[in-house]
Every structure is written in C-alpha cells, then in structure tokens.
Symmetry: C2
Subunit: 287 residues, 2 copies
C-alpha cells in the first residue's frame, strides 16, 4: 500500500517582538508563531486551521482522519503545503465520499485548539474497543513525565503552546516516538494521529501512551480512543464529559501528572501502582 507523498514545508516557529515590562524597561521577547493554513481537498476549500506550523502535512493528514473524512491514508495521493500562500493542497485518489454530508454538522468543542468536530464523531464512541491488556506501571509513568520535563521545547523559549507526545512502552522504558507542539492542543493530537497513520500497521497500539499538557476534555479523550491509544496522561485535569467517555471506552485517564504526583481519574486497573516510588507523603494533603 503506497503511502501519500508529503512535502516538508518549513517555517519559523517563533519570532522576536519588542515589549515593555513592569519596570518600564523595553525588552525583546520570543513568542510562538500562529499562521493560517487553508486546506483544499481536490481543489475544494475545506477548512482553515490556525497552527504553529511545525508539521503541517501531518496535521492535515491527522485532521482528515480524526474528522473521519478519510478512512485510510491510502485514500490520499499527496499533501502539498506552501507557506508562501498558507495553503495545503490535498490530492485524493478517488475523492472523499459524502464530503458535503460529513462536514455539514458542526460541533464546537471546549478543547483548546481545533475545536470543530464534524458530526457523527460522538456517535462512534460506542464502537471503540481498546486493547484489553494495556497497562502502565507507576515507574513508567514517572519516566514518561521526566522525559517531557527534559525536552527542549518551543514552550520553554516562547510559551503559549501546548504539547502532545506519543510514547511506546513495549521496551519497558517509555520511548518517546513523537513530540509535537502547537498553538492549539487539538492540532498537536491531530498531528500525532497523522504520524501514526503513516506508520507500519503491524505496530500495535496496545503499548502506546498519549501525553498532553492540555486538559482531558471530551474531544481529547475521544480522539485518543479513536487512535486506539488506551492510556492518556495529562499535566492538567479532566472534565466531566472527558471522564464519562474515558469510563465508557475503558481508557485509563491520568491527570495532574508532574514530578511524582498524579491522579488517575478512570480505569485505574490499567495502572500498576508502585506507591513506594511516590516518596514521603506530604503532612497536609494538597487541595
């Protein structure tokens, strides 16, 4: 099965601007890029995404997949991004069936980032079956969080971006397969979906863990589940609907993951606890 041809468009991820601080001093600060990328499918305008611009081709591919506009990457012949005109030209082999109907229903989500999920996405949740035996140890969780902590990032230099990462636990030690930052966290997870779609299908999802700095809202949990990833870890918290979806599909949702702290919000049977690694308990429990 031939994979789609993707360009590798590059654009600066940060820029310097002049600013004034509380002491009245002028200073140069670094801020993240935010640029528009209008997606054309077979020359038909589909959507404009606002993005940092690190992996535009994978973003578009993942967007099309997560919106269920394509079922298989083999449907796509090529994705050509040209930052000079802020356009991504998607060429399909046989067009997208029912594109009018698929894009007619609009759901504006709470998540940071892309926000808009075309209709029918929620309906699919009931059909998702996640790998039953997938689990993560507390030690692996700590290793994963520490890997993120040590990463050189646009966030550290310019702030104001969300990060996502995909980890593989198959080797015991968590291996970071991909790290993506974007001004929208949904862009970041869609980029990861695009990357996963380009990989060998024989690579199972059972040992995959999805990490995000953003909150686990319904859309984020749904997208993880749709990608077949049974464990999600967030630096932030969870919403009620994110929790409901995680419980419904058997997804292990871990939040507030920093240093040695975390809260497992759903399906803790996938988490092999090792409380002896957590260090001494604080005298007064934190709120």
């Amino acid at each position: 099965m031939p994979l789609p041809h993707l360009t590798q468009a590059q654009a600066p991820l940060t820029c310097e601007i002049g600013a004034v601080n509380e002491f009245g001093e002028t200073l140069q600060v670094s801020i993240p890029a935010e640029r528009s990328l209008t997606v054309y499918v077979d020359k038909r305008e589909l959507v404009t995404l606002m993005t940092l611009g690190a992996h535009p081709e994978l973003l578009v591919l993942g967007y099309l997949r997560n919106q269920r506009l394509i079922k298989d990457v083999a449907d796509i012949d090529s994705i050509t991004v040209d930052w000079d005109v802020g356009a991504a030209a998607v060429k399909t082999h046989h067009g997208i069936e029912d594109i009018e109907a698929k894009t007619a229903k609009r759901v504006v989500t709470t998540g940071c980032g892309q926000g808009s999920v075309f209709g029918g996405l929620m309906d699919e949740v009931d059909q998702i079956v996640l790998p039953a035996d997938a689990h993560i140890t507390q030690s692996q969780l700590y290793g994963l969080v520490n890997t993120i902590r040590l990463k050189e990032t646009t966030y550290k230099s310019a702030g104001s971006v969300h990060a996502c990462a995909l980890f593989d636990l198959a080797g015991g030690e968590p291996e970071m397969l991909l790290f993506v930052e974007d001004v929208g966290r949904h862009n970041a997870i869609d980029t990861i979906a695009g990357w996963m779609a380009m990989q060998d299908k024989s690579v199972g999802e059972a040992d995959k863990v999805f990490y995000t700095t953003g909150r686990l809202t319904s859309e984020m949990v749904i997208k993880s589940a749709q990608m077949g990833v049974p464990i999600v870890v967030s630096r932030s918290g969870i919403t009620q609907m994110g929790h409901q979806v995680a419980q419904a599909v058997g997804l292990c949702a871990i939040g507030r993951a920093t240093n040695k702290r975390f809260i497992c919000y759903a399906n803790p049977q996938r988490l092999n606890l090792q409380p002896e690694l957590a260090g001494p308990k604080p005298r007064t429990p934190e709120p």
Copy 2:
C-alpha cells in the same frame, strides 16, 4: 428597544468522582462539568457548543454576535435553554439573513474553546476603530489582577476551566462587572459579549478592560476588538498573530500578568507606567 427574553437555566458546575493518587489511595475529586448545548435558530440546528453551563443564554447570545450572525440583540425575541435536552432555542423576529452563506466558511482556530469562527470575521478587523484615549495605569492593572486572585472560582475547586472577566476603570479603581468561567475560553469571552450586548448602549467601552486566563491568540484579540474593548490582560502569553492583530487595531495587549509582573506586548502608550510600584528588581532576570 426591547431586550430579548432569556431563561436562566441552571445546572451543576462541578461533580465529584472517585480517583486514585500516587500513594494508591482512593479519593474524591471535584471536576468541572462539560455539557453539550445544541443551538437552534428558529428551529433550525446551527451548532453544538460544549460548555461548563454557567450562563448558557448569554453564551448563545454572545456566540451569535461574535460570529456576526446577528448585528443587534433587538433581532432576538428570546433564548430558551433547557438542560434536560441540552438545547438552546433561539427565536428571532425576522430570521437571520444569509445564514447559509454566513455559516458556510469554516475557520478552525488555535484558541482554547469554541474554535470555530465563521468566515469573514478576519476581514472585519481592518474596519475596527477602538477608543483613542483609553488607557490603564499600572496601579489599576495591579488592582485588577488582585481582584481576580481573590475571587472564589470553579477553577479553585475543580480546575480545568478558563476564566474571563470584564472590568470598568471609569471610577478609578477597577470594578469587575462580570466574571465568567468555562471549559473553553472562547465560551467565556462570548458570554461576556452576550452580557455586554444586554447592557445599556450608553455605557461606553473606552474604560473597559478584558481579562483572560488564556493565551492571547488571534481569535481572542479579534473578539476583544470587535467588542470595542481596547485593553486586554492575560495571565498567559501571546501568539504572533494575536500580536499582529493587536498592533493593527491599536489594542493594548498585556500578558504574563501575575502579582506585580507583566509584559506589555502591544501599544504600551495605553499603559501609564508606574515602575515604582513594581517592587525591587530581581537580581537575575527571569526567563
């Protein structure tokens, strides 16, 4: 001019769930609600918003205004929210002109929250004229940030929500007119837009300041400008396009505002600096 009739639908903003922490202890944690609200305009389905649910009627009103689907609240007869079915029924006096065309173009934004902005919104930016003489003193800025700090919030009890607030500087001391939290920060700003639309038109926007915990992405800056608010303050940072829009429309954009710290990213001439209030300078400048 009669104002639209709005219901005052209520729903719980948080819920308790069981969770497991790093010591293997089970505990009850509070998380924010996230519920779907499908908006029907004259019985025609328009959009589904995912929201915390604190002010659904004002959210719908502000959404319609910020998407430029209505020009004036007087176009609206009533907004009736029923949480039992998760629906907001909008009744207009004369329908919405060109609703098909207005909702045809899709921009998926980087912002947290609502994300989807119908087409043409960016085109309007050039026409925005903000009050020329609006300004804020460093003292007022500190007062505003302190007011937010002291507020009892869903964030403090359950996390995972963004907050927005609208302040009035006309009396010297910053007066908080409205404080809104939502799982999406665009929902929060839209709710403020809805509230503003319901107020007496004689209340000027020159002395208004918009505060947000979220990042100043392009969409957030555009929405503030469209609401006529010339000064925005964020706990977080700014993106390149947010900065460009702020410069283009003469909007004062202040970020990283916590305690006595801040960075003014655009139009510092609207900020009356009082560096003597900033306290002692740190020996090593923070990154």
